[in-house]
Symmetry: C2
Subunit: 105 residues, 2 copies
């Protein structure tokens, strides 16, 4: 992944005293074949350490990745989440759009 810095941006927040990562999320940049290789960002794997909840760390990593997506020239960012987390992501400026389907292989 480190060889693909134009594809993956991993945001982390560290507790410097404990030398421990307490929040993270990843931006994956997809090139859209049907849109002349326009860039679409996907935010994946948003995780905040449960003992650090309520400190707006989730918002911070999302904001950092939105800024990175904009800098990289993404025209949109999409993110899949549970129904329970929709209000949180709405506060982060995202809007409900479609349905995520899955198949485990």
């Amino acid at each position: 992944m480190s060889k693909r810095s134009d594809t993956y941006k991993v945001a982390v927040i560290e507790d410097l005293d404990k030398r421990q990562i307490i929040a993270t999320a990843t931006l994956v940049v997809e090139l859209k074949f049907i849109r002349g290789c326009a860039k679409c960002g996907h935010i994946e794997d948003v995780v905040v350490d449960s003992t650090y909840r309520g400190l707006r760390l989730g918002l911070r990593v999302i904001e950092a990745l939105m800024a990175a997506a904009q800098e990289l020239g993404c025209y949109k960012v999409i993110l899949d989440c549970s129904e329970d987390n929709v209000p949180f992501y709405e506060k982060c400026g995202l809007t409900r759009k479609e349905v995520q389907m899955v198949k485990y292989l």
Copy 2:
């Protein structure tokens, strides 16, 4: 994209008489940072020419990309779709899971 054949697989169905692509979909392979770089497939941009609907071409491209995802070692494939298309993707073996959120930049 052609340089990243381990990341992008584009399935196309062509009408050989008309020399025209009539169905396509793309598999994007994401490496999951929090899962030791395990591979997660994303199926994007499923399009079937409107004059060729009802011929199960959508199912064919999905099946081809699911097989490619399995061959590449993906542990799951996800796909975002509109509420109206959920029944179609259920026939393709996918299950409704989460909500897709979006932000246009």
